[in-house]
Symmetry: C2
Subunit: 320 residues, 2 copies
């Protein structure tokens, strides 16, 4: 006998984490949350579709991790503290092994960030996962895309490009040496930079997460801020794993245009840059990769030599 | 050239309604909401899949209306005041006619309830719509499934069964006389009982919305409340439209087991029943269809004669 929706929720998605802000969790028509005093509510929603955002056959544990990670990354980019999530899970059949693994990946990350599942929907359909995450933020300190000003330093966390390199290896069914394993896991199990985002609230002038590629997202940040940027490609973090598997131009292409990194791209006023000189913040490496310019547009340089790149950001409807 | 995700959002889903509780709407990594003083946050999320929750070829305007209506219905069942929604729209191609009609249906209902679209995701994939709605509620007056007690009156709004009858006519491609039009629209364009839910906050002892069928949902309400119920079928609201198209046993089956009505099922203490004797509340007809019993289980009677019914609620994973 197939599992009912009720069985699935009870067995795999029952209430787990107790949070004082969750007044009423799963089980009624809706959930009820207590909003902490003096906080605003921050909300992000992202959807991942099998065969579009991750290859068919991706391990369920990774699907669960990644579906939440891409959402937490949006909250990280605001500097918010995550609190709760709603889960919409459309799947073709009630496959218990798949569900158990999906829940394992989802909750491992949720528990690490103390995020409570407070509701959602489980339906029969193609494999599509939508998560809404909510969190709280101090009204006077949060991060927008629009705060960058000419002269600010431009920074990125982690090693951009590795996720795109990992996806290329997954698609090519590449042999799983150590470099390949590292790159693949960067695509399948991105680490949302929540602690970094919290730390940046009082340091950064603007921030966003890198989901569509460094340059494409930088263009969005610059457009929102009414400025431009100059990127020094020699300052991009080097990836030994990428260099072990790809030639130099390919590495550069992944670093500048590969999507799915879920690192933070942020700007810092000259006065605040001293706080970052050590190169790590909240346990994450951050690299200064350029500066914000008054002149609009994003330009890339190697030393003083401007690079002209063919590139396009990831667009979900530009069928490729 | 196909529309980009950015174009779609800008053209069809740009910020429209100004609400004082929306601090930051569409366009950054996440949205920010101001929580009204002294309110709790209420959240519901529902997903509709083409071919599962609505037939392929359903007009896009109805898909937009219905996807929001089923969510607002959950908030209505709590007695909450809706405020905002996030929309995840997975669709196979950027069909402008479809998008324009979908947005028209969605926003007509959203505007009627002053609900602001504050974010979401637009992706390429099978036609799946997930909406998260959020709203506010007074901490001391809201409606749960668990508050019914023996002796309470049992009520339902509207005319249960008409939506299921309408879906049957849609599936049968039935001729569109006036009765059929009425029934089909009850499936395609359910009216969430938000005003009724608000009015019931201080009157009802328990409430839920009817999505899986009257008896199946009543069983859930009784289980949550630790009680049972006795339904008098002769007290069910009569539907001239159903009676014009279906025989009496079929009408009764739709009324008791048909899903998708999105009416409110609620219970009222004897002391509060006087407030309901007029038969309408917040402009909606409400009918007293039975009583809550101490003995567990839901039983149906015609007069003093117990009816034994074959029935099952809608279950998304019990493949039929």
């Amino acid at each position: 006998m197939p599992l009912s929706e009720f069985d699935i929720i009870a067995k795999y998605f029952g209430s787990r984490s107790a949070r004082s802000d969750v007044s009423l969790g799963i089980g009624d028509d809706a959930a009820i949350l207590n909003v902490p005093a003096g906080r605003k509510l921050v909300l992000a929603m992202d959807t991942v579709v099998e065969g579009v955002h991750f290859p068919s056959g991706t391990p369920a544990q990774d699907v669960g991790h990644r579906a939440l990670a891409v959402n937490l990354s949006d909250l990280a980019a605001m500097g918010a503290e995550p609190s709760w999530m709603s889960l919409s899970l459309s799947l073709p059949e009630a496959d218990e092994t798949w569900l158990e693994q999906f829940a394992r990946g989802l909750f491992a990350l949720a528990d690490a960030h103390k995020v409570a599942l407070i509701g959602g929907d489980t339906v029969r359909g193609p494999l599509v996962v939508t998560i809404q995450v909510g969190g709280w933020i101090e009204p006077d300190h949060y991060l927008l895309r629009s705060g960058a000003r000419a002269g600010d330093g431009l920074y990125v966390s982690g090693v951009p490009g590795e996720a795109a390199a990992g996806l290329a290896l997954i698609r090519a069914h590449a042999a799983a040496d150590r470099s390949a394993q590292h790159l693949k896991s960067r695509f399948l199990r991105p680490e949302p930079r929540v602690a970094l985002g919290r730390a940046l609230r009082t340091i950064a002038s603007a921030a966003m997460d890198v989901s569509d590629g460094l340059l494409a997202d930088l263009e969005k940040l610059c457009a929102a801020s009414g400025c431009g940027a100059r990127v020094q490609v020699e300052a991009l973090p080097r990836s030994p794993a990428m260099q072990a598997r790809f030639d130099e131009p390919t590495c550069l292409r992944y670093a500048l245009t590969g999507g799915d990194d879920y690192e933070l791209l942020f700007t810092v006023t000259p006065a605040n840059e001293a706080a970052l000189h050590a190169g790590t913040l909240a346990g994450v490496e951050v690299a200064r990769i350029g500066t914000i310019t008054a002149e609009p547009g994003v330009r890339c340089f190697r030393g003083d030599q401007e690079l002209v790149l063919e590139r396009s950001g990831y667009d979900h409807f530009a069928l490729r």
